[in-house]
Amino acid sequence: MIKRHFVLLLLLLPLIWLSSCDLQGNHINDLQTFRMAVSSEPPTLDWNLATDSISIRIIENLMEGLTQFDQDLNPVPAVAKGWKVSEDGKTYIFPLHNSISWSDGKRVTAHDFEYSWKRLLNPATAAEYAYFLYDIENAYEYNSGQIKDPSLIGIKAIDDTTFEVRLRKPVVYFPSITTFTATFPLRRDIVEKYGDHWTDPANIVTNGPFLLKEWRHEYSLTLTANKDYYGGRPKLDAIRFYVIGESTTALTLYETGGLDMVSLPPLAIPHYKKHSEYSHHPFLRGYYYGFNVEKPPFNDKRVRQSFSMAIDRTAFPEILKGGELPATSWIPQGMMGYNPSIGLSFDPAGARALLREAGYPDGSGFPEVTAVFSTNPENLLIAQNLQAQWKKNLGIEVKLDNQEWKVFLKTLQTNTPPIFRLGWGADYPDPDNFMNLFTSTSGNNRTHWKNREYDRLVEAAAMEQDLEKRKRLYDQAQKILTEENVPIMPLFTNAQNLLVKPYVKGFRPNAMDITYLKDVWIER
């Protein structure tokens, strides 16, 4: 009898232990809590080190830098009151507000910016986005170890409220770079005191509209309103970001009332398209196929042009159903310099003529080529469609090969395939971020294409103060890129597809996919 009870107790013990375990999170059941999903754990909240969209989305609500974006993605003053540019365009002076404080009450000063920028450039920090500041005098030399003295870098806090930046060349979009999280100010005392753990909720010190209250790794982050925020206390009491990797899980939670906003997985878009909570927004992310211009047959630009002209790009939104915008030009919609009239449009007869000229009439004698892309259902659908279109319009059978993401990246580096798929998302909303990609010196130009005229135009545009002249320079450069030389074929730009509950007010997504939540409130 005793033995039997003992066995029963033994079975029950783990259950008793489990029921005592802390499965319960800290609930903030306030009506003014906004709940949304992020697709993975933010790799870091150290804004010098963060490079991914999830970390950045959270940091953007915790912190403010010299400038931030307005709704049209133009940089506008934030911690800085504005900026003055010297006549030669090489020196920027940012006067700072003197009333903005950190969450521990200390004032935000120009020294916090100087420390942050020099830390970003310090080789020991090993920050991936240090190159964002390479346009600053001696920044590259310091980051690459050629000089050891950080005081030689063109970054200086002249006094508490004046921050000076000296550039090696005029860069008209420089204020756009200061909207970027990596350039936000940092507190030396906090970083030095807590080391790697300075971003823990108990240690972190911020200056933005929300404060980091709790970070349950791999599960959720809770931000609460900063009542001392210089722009006025935000209307929301709290934001809860849940880490939800599976997009259909997020959708189920949205439907059962667990989330207030959700990004729709492509498969669900047709079902929700007519839903009143559905909205669709442009997204500064381009999807393209590139050629290795050194490998035959794509070392002949007529072949490249022909391949680009043989694609009916209107097919892609029909396949992906995510409101993608077909594109023949490279600068995406929503960005200065966008010009949809540039690029090679669908012209099967013209494409065949060019192919004939190149020595492959109706595709005969065309060598075997393989298009390579990274394993992903969206990429597969697009690749299969391209394969069919090239077969139909050019008579060419292109083989397809997909590789796991990191293997694919290695292949691109070591043995660039004749045709490959890639994409690019904006780091800052300036066309330079897109156009610079295909200059001869860009590490991200995997096409092996080098064009001096293109390089010159892109460099001149980066320095051109006059907006109209700048647009013209980009038009010329885009023509070389997508009409004359065609090292890449832009296919479409992505879109954001959201469901937002009707009681969420003031929510305005932007094309950078940055969600500023300080103006959002809930009205039930």
Binding site: L11, P14, L15, L18, S19, C21, L23, Q24, G25, H27, E41, P43, T44, D46, L49, T51, P123, A124, T125, A126, A127, E128, A130, Y131, Y140, N143, S144, G145, D196, H197, T199, R216, H217, E218, Y219, Y242, V243, I244, G245, E246, T249, T252, L253, T256, G258, E404, W405, K406, V407, F408, L409, K410, T411, Q413, L422, W424, D427, G443, N444, R446
Partner: protein
């Protein structure tokens, strides 16, 4: 007995060393590195990062450095989750996986043994019980757990609103993932239990029990069950280790902050120290679970004790 345990524990050291070495070599052979990304890094920045993590050193130096810190119990920094060590990550996520795994394990034991017992006893008497329970067992084995999870969410969360569809906030959040995890092992256990119990029930000593006029309950629970459970025990060890280290798919579907997802994501990210960390922890648990199984045999089966 103590000597036996000590010997087995000492054996774990070379086993884990071998696991660590093979994993270390294989993950470095796989193409693609931790810092390859769509936005390729300038070579200077790549050099800074590689220096920080000693990835610029020769392979054997990297191996020795890793082994040295491993001996100190330091699993190294994660390359993906900057500023967090693998020790931190495992300390955060492993307890969650243990919680879910233990519930799923107990559930599969109760369901599996119960069903197996019921069907074996009712064989030849109430055939429909036997057939229904074995049919359920076949279903449990053949339906993948992600399909079952989706079905459970659809029916019990979206349609009837009985359980939450995901997240990890209280006991009610553990039910659906635990059932999804437990179904397949429970079904397998039911089948093993079924056939093993039928064999045992045909043994001479059970016939003797019947001849002595013992009631069925006593025969079953006092004499038959212990011997019938022997094959289950050997299965339970690795199952327990597998369940408490989490499941990538179940954690993903239910958004549970456990460590199971790292078995996949650490490899996708080429987060070398995290790959090593989860592999070694899993290896260690398998070794311990097998030791526990052997000890359990010792207690249940007198034949082993005599040897």
């Amino acid at each position: 007995m103590l000597l036996f345990i000590l010997k087995r524990l000492l054996w774990a050291i070379p086993v884990l060393w071998l696991v660590a070495t093979i994993t270390f070599i294989v993950m470095h052979i796989v193409p693609g590195g931790p810092f390859d990304a769509e936005k390729q890094l300038p070579p200077e920045i790549r050099a800074n990062i590689e220096e920080k993590y000693h990835l610029d050193r020769p392979f054997h130096t990297q191996y020795l450095l890793y082994m040295e810190s491993l001996i100190r119990g330091d699993l190294g920094p994660s390359y993906k989750y900057l500023g967090r060590s693998v020790n931190d990550i495992l300390a955060d996520t492993f307890p969650v996986s243990i919680q879910l795994g233990v519930i799923a394990f107990i559930l599969s034991l109760i369901l599996g043994m119960g069903t197996g017992l019921l069907s074996a006893v009712s064989k030849g008497r109430g055939d429909w019980i036997d057939k229904t329970s074995m049919l359920m067992a076949i279903g449990g084995v053949s339906i993948p757990h992600f399909v079952l999870a989706a079905l459970l969410i659809l029916i019990l969360s979206q349609t009837f609103h009985i359980f939450p569809p995901a997240l990890w906030e209280g006991w009610e959040y553990t039910i659906l993932p635990a059932v999804s995890l437990a179904a397949a092992p429970a079904a397998y256990m039911a089948r093993v239990m079924h056939s093993s119990l039928i064999n045992v029930l045909n043994e001479d000593y059970i016939r003797t029990c019947y001849a002595k006029g013992l009631p069925l309950r006593t025969i079953l629970f006092k004499h038959a069950l212990k011997n019938a459970a022997v094959p289950l025990v050997s299965f339970s060890g690795p199952l327990f280790a597998g369940l408490i280290t989490g499941s990538f798919i179940i954690e993903y579907i239910f958004s549970i902050p456990g460590m199971g997802k790292y078995f996949v994501t650490a490899v996708i990210n080429r987060d070398y120290p995290l790959i090593m960390g989860v592999t070694l922890l899993y290896g260690l648990l398998i070794v311990l679970a097998n030791l526990a199984v052997d000890l359990l045999y010792f207690f249940i089966d007198p034949r082993i004790r005599k040897r």
